[in-house]
Symmetry: none
């Protein structure tokens, strides 16, 4: 009986035929004996993450795979990214407005000298200095991220995410005033709160001793928090409650930790998980197996196939897939109580250097599935899989079905 | 990278097993080495034009294939047929009511002697004589079609297409008064306008010198315009704007030119394109290839497989398919920047002499598609295609996906 699931998402794994690979995709051309052996012990299929002919972003595709449709739960990248910041997280509530931010440097005239304050390595004390300010009844929480990054959460009544960015995404320009993007009084109010917050926090930051020390040492002061990407934190059930599965997330990239945190999963840090082509995939997979001791559902994200394809680097994508395959050898000995799911969040075509709507391969590996004739984990082999072609919304019900956790309809 | 699409629709191509063909369909039984070779370089599938178990008309199926669902854009055949009439077309606006018409002959008692005025060959001067009349503020436009055919467009306020036909579709009967088909004042008003228009134009036509000359020569006068098939011209985006694709239409049949014109495609006239079994398919395909120099999207319609099946003529259908196959040899050398799509708008079963809901084969041919194992272009071979089974509504997204033109959802 299946009581555990390891759910691996290879970002951007699917692709199109590459002429230099004899018309095979990177996944087909790569030597993947371990993934193929797992596919041979699986029921396979092709997944259209958001449905046929829809080109998915990574954020909404992950939400869809985990059963959180974008129409209901996606309001922008802010709440997802902010959810992943900090060790302790920052508990958000429905209605909070979350934004991503950069600590940067502005001069006396208010022009941006550097959007990253000289690539400052740690903004924890700067975030702490301005965290908790209350503006017009709205509490402004600030949490440090990696390097120059931070998150801002506005907590209070009458807020809206229909506001423009303060970050002009260019240096030498003044900070942009946040403007309402619709006619609502909530948007006007939120823009006003943020502008006041940024002005006041600029004064606070400018007077910090640590900034005077930076200036004295010839470093740019981190004297301004530039915000962007507002989104409302939606009212939603945590993954653990929605499915009655104790879950955790193993990821290198901030967005993917953010997705895990956004869904209430525990974030497991793995040394060597960088979200880059040099990431330690074996360490992540080993951690996943280990985590099944304490968790029912372990989400593992592997990033670099996507980044390499976005660069058009099909050789690099193939090589990275072969590294992932070597690491996947570990999964050949999973116990029968553990379901292994492997898929992708979308295809990324090296030819176009972009996400595409092409479906992605999917396997559910366990002796209890109806193992089909597919013996290769690839875009084309999975066309013949026993699951047929399905959408991301179908995935969690398939997992719950295998785990014997679906409610009965009728009697 | 794909920048052009040639989109071929074989009308009524799908069929059912024919006992005289050893239980094969006309498409299976026909010798089609070129279509099969193209399928072998394609990703294939089966298309249910309007969804499973829906028996499609040609007009609505074409609209659905091009991304214009019938619920939103189909109000009757009038606007589509009228859109295709005349070299210069007749610019319609949303809310106009369009009808098909025949110039016929009525006697002094108002009975129809001949619905086609002795199969008159050209009604241009008759249409011109009654074009532009204004009845109760409604402008009545008349445009000549081929032979006895014409189109009528009512332009003004308060119009409705919920009206009956004036054409009783039989001779020896009086012209039917147009009646409102619902209780709206718009339908009553439109019926009244049309009845006045037909009465007044009958007087005008009866007095024309060209009709006196016809009578003197022993020909039936074209003294009445019988209208039918009212539809409202919908508010809709032109194909070129909807998809950012410069498009044209190559077709022999009036309805299919009408579909192209209705969607705002340029209509390309090809000598020898008759919409009959003798049509010059090779000339149409050659024109399609040539048109890719100036257009991003070339729609080619090939009619006769449908007409032959409607007659139950499976031998003729098979022979016509073999002629189409010979013409398709031209497509074997398409450049890599051109996607070739081949499909049908519906099946027409020789056994039933009627359209059926059986799905139709579909191929997308280009080196950048995930070429599947299908090596025959047929109803049964395409069951195993990598596209699986899909609806007409999925087709344009698949094309846009291959062309790298889909918007990204999420980030």
């Amino acid at each position: 009986m299946i009581t555990k699931t390891i759910f691996v998402i290879f970002d951007g794994l699917g692709d199109r035929p590459i002429p230099a690979f004899d018309g095979q995709t990177p996944l087909e051309y790569a030597h993947t004996p371990n993934l193929d052996a797992l596919a041979a012990r699986s029921i396979c299929g092709l997944m259209h993450p958001l449905g046929r002919g829809v080109r998915p972003g990574s954020d909404v595709s992950h939400l869809a795979i985990f059963g959180y449709p974008l129409e209901k739960y996606y309001t922008g990248r802010g709440p997802i990214e902010v959810a992943g910041l900090g060790k302790s997280g920052l508990a958000m509530q429905a209605g909070d407005v979350a934004l991503r931010g950069n600590f940067g440097t502005v001069d006396a005239q208010g022009n941006i000298i550097d959007r990253r304050a000289g690539r400052i390595s740690d903004v924890t004390p700067f975030a702490a200095a301005i965290d908790g300010m209350v503006v017009d009844g709205v509490r402004c929480r600030v949490i440090a991220g990696t390097a120059h990054r931070a998150g801002v959460v506005l907590q209070g009544k009458g807020l809206s995410a229909a506001i423009s960015d303060a970050d002009p995404h260019a240096e030498g320009h003044p900070v942009a005033a946040v403007r309402p993007l619709d006619d609502s009084k909530e948007a006007a109010f939120t823009a006003e709160v943020l502008n006041t917050f940024m002005r006041t926090s600029h004064e606070t930051l400018s007077g910090l001793a640590i900034n005077e020390q930076r200036s004295a040492a010839g470093q740019l002061p981190a004297n301004f928090l530039l915000v962007r990407g507002a989104g409302v934190y939606p009212s939603m059930p945590a993954f653990n409650e929605k499915y009655d599965l104790k879950s955790c997330c193993i990821a290198g990239g901030g967005l993917y930790k953010g997705i895990g945190a956004f869904l209430g999963m525990d974030i497991i840090e793995v040394a060597g998980a960088t979200a880059l082509p040099d990431t330690d995939i074996a360490a992540k997979f080993a951690a996943a197996v280990q985590m099944t001791e304490n968790y029912d559902f372990v989400f593992v994200h592997v990033k670099a196939a996507d980044s390499l394809a976005e660069d058009g680097n099909f050789e690099g994508k193939k090589t990275f897939i072969e590294r992932a395959d070597a690491a996947a050898a570990l999964f050949s000995n999973l116990p029968d109580d553990t379901l292994l799911v492997m898929t992708a969040d979308h295809s990324t075509a090296c030819e176009l250097k972009a996400h595409t709507a092409d479906p992605v391969p999917l396997m559910l590996c366990n002796p209890s599935v109806r193992i089909d004739a597919v013996s290769q984990f690839s875009e084309r082999a999975c066309m013949q899989g026993g699951l047929g072609q399905l959408d991301a919304a179908n995935i969690m019900p398939e997992v719950l079905n295998m785990m014997g956790k679906l409610p009965l309809v009728g009697a």
